[in-house]
Amino acid sequence: MPSIVKPVVTHPSLERNDLGLNLRAYEGAMSTLCAGCGHDSVTAAIIKAAWELSLDPHMIGKFSGIGCSSKTPTYFVSGAHGFNSAHGRMPAIATGAGAANRSLVAIGISGDGDSLSIGIGQMAHAVRRNLNIVYVIENNGVYGLTKGQFSASADLGSKSKKGEANRVSPIDPVLLGLSLGATFVARSFSGDKEQLVPILKAAIKHKGLALIDVISPCVTFNDHEGSTKSYLYTRKHDYHVTDAEVIIPADEIIANISVNGHTAVTMHDGTVIRFTNTPEDYDPRDRAKVFAYIQEHQREGKVPTGLLFIDETPGDMHDVLGTIDTPLTQVPYETLCPGSETLASLMEEFR
């Protein structure tokens, strides 16, 4: 449905953020996904998170690979540059863009096929580099555009639409991310905006790669009985491990809100993530414990969700590279070129 132009409907009463923009300013083109697709809810959550954080639309960079999920960057923040790249190659494209211009707020949208099969290598290495990006995997366990093959995240025993059971062990992006050293790992459900929006906001504020596995059901090919990625199944098994809120330093409330005995993590820009609900003995900063907790609860058939793990201490890719604070794209050529005299003296070393 690409020819349909989305009508711009605004109303003076629409609330404006710090930039004076209303929610509509963060929307994109009309979705061409199936009605009821989980991905559209993720899109809506991203729009809300970006609006609430008053992100400057043109400072956002949207990145994706190929697949249903990868179409979605067209559907949010039309004032941002987007790059719909090749299947499984989003991490590399985003790495290059991030290396060139570190001031962009990078939002990468991928899927389970894009990131757990064809692009698993690139995803793993983007995690290792701690590229500063919000890395969303819209996870539905199935290939939609090619009509219903199992993806690498399909659970053992989960049934395809034709009734065939998956017999290949799944790759879990959360456990994978934790084992690769991801500095921010979360899982949510496209149908749970209350949980997803704060996670996205925290992810945007995180300096490094924020891996968010969002169970986002495919209404056409994987929403039937026997599927473990359906709306019904996910609702039934969703298990909130944590709830968190994001407190921006500029917010007036910060002075009034104390940590109240809850775990709180302060981000690089002073933003505070306050965990309002965590199980006893659960520390979202303890990688090994989080890993064990998730594994244990998944074994029980639960789908553990929430901001599961966060570590603000390691530097991001630029810290490791030792790059200057100014985006490389803004360094004038005169600074970059050593000039003729330097070359002349360098030539003496080749004599």
Binding site: G61, G79, N84, S85, P91, A99, Q122, D325, T329, M347
Partner: protein, 616 residues
Amino acid sequence: MTRINDFAMKLANVNGTGSASANGLLMQTIFRMGIPVAGKNLFPSNIQGLPTWYEIRVSKDGYGARALDYDLMVAMDAQTYGRDVHEVRGSTNGAPGGYVLFDSTWPLHDDLHRNDVTFLGVPLAKMCNEYFSEPRTRILLKNIMYSGTLAALLNLDMEIVGELIKESYGKKQALLDSNRKALELGFEFAKKNFDCPLPFYCEKMDENGDKILIDGNTATALGAIYAGATVAAWYPITPATSVMDAFKAFADRYRVDPVTKKNNFAFLQAEDELAAIGMVIGASWAGARSFTSTAGPGISLMNELIGLAYYAEIPAVIFDIQRTGPSTGMPTRTQQSDIMECAYASHGDTKHIVLFPSSPAECFEFAVQSFDLAEQFQTPVFMLSDLDIGMNDWVVPRLRWDDNYKPNRGRVLTSEELDHIKTYFRYSPEDENHVAARTLPGINAKGAFFTRGSGHNRLGGYTETPSEYQEVMDRLLLKHKASAKYVPSPVIERKPGATIGIISLGGCDPACREAIDILESQGVPANYMRVRGFPFSREVEQFIAEQDVCYVVEQNRDGQLRSLLVLETHVPKEKLLSILVYGGFPLSAKSVVEGLLHKHVKESVPEFGNEILIEE
């Protein structure tokens, strides 16, 4: 009959034993003596233990191709004694044959003796064991010791040799002392036991005042530094790795902010070539000058995203240091076999800009030009170097820089320009070269667009409509054609009375030039055209039209340059005959001359087809 500054020698060694430092020492000494010299490293894909050769050709006339006719063999590898001794020039027409320098610590097997060459035995291992105690030192210093012997035999300037030793080891007194001692022992032994110098030797000249000794990969890296490249992404691969090693070393030197001590560059070692090219494309999309260096296997992997960059019109600079294919092939041997792969890289209809440097000097120049062309035409640009150019030290004019150079960033809209236009569309309107203006992220929301490798129309919107799709594809073809005027023009040299032409490219240049001189002396004058860029300019077609017949000299099996000429010009293919040398070693003039004369006689004899294959 003495020959001054006109001979060739070959050093046969076991790799991993420190022979490279001796090779470099000899090369640099001759270079500093002001004599034209060329060195070719024929090395194995191995860390330690396999045969490795180094050839040095000293040529007062400036011929830098391989000689294939060795006056002196330094035979230090027992594994290859037999063939090494066999390669030495025998006596011809009463002229004495060449020489073999060997380690006489152990007797040479009778089978290895030849009557027409002179054997010079030096008890290298014995002397090393006598004077040096540490086992590793003994092995390493053997090389320096025979360098001393060679200095005496070839009349090398010992003062220069001493200087070089000092430059290398000056900071470590013990090392300096032992190197000096080894050098002296080798030198004195020769003076005492042999007639020095040999009938061929060196004498100072003044040909190198304005020259340097540099390899193409170092020059390429310098080009990237001077072009203002800030994002380098790569995956280690022979023979391209030293491009990035050099880039990093230069960047650490010239690109660190003096105040913050932070880097004005990002150096990304990718997980594979798929990612390396992705990073380059992402960085270029964001507005940085970015590049990768790789070899054939890497280009194979990069094909996917090269198509994306071509179709979405994103600049990308790819330095391909060609090696022997297909598959893993011979990683440490040279070839020119990625021509077709690069010209048409990726699925679907794609055509790329390809530059063919012939020396480290052109690597520097073309590296800079690659960035200008990539941004001007918003497309991938390949610079096809090869192992011979990239990893061997060549004598070339000093690299110079014009401070008036301004990078050609192509059509990129500023925030102000965007404010003044009504609506921005990515692929429209186009200029006279069929290039539309691009915008960069983080500049102005009005310039925002969605980059896609899927079907798009001239406005940048998604399309599946035939006419809209075709309109963009047709413009891309016109854009590629328009770039022909901007790629480096061919170098053409005409000989009086010549009706035939030699066409070549890249590292074949020294051999072709020498061959043309030899052919002329034999009464077969030939015109010469060295192609330097693709798409081909009108001059290329014109040159071929002027010749009765052209011999296309290249280092691959399938005549890839010839194929490209047949496909992309209107010349009749019967006019183009191939001379192909592709065994993996750099080209010699001998192969070109023999190939051409052979073909000139057999011309158009059907069973020979269009090719002649020379084995070196």
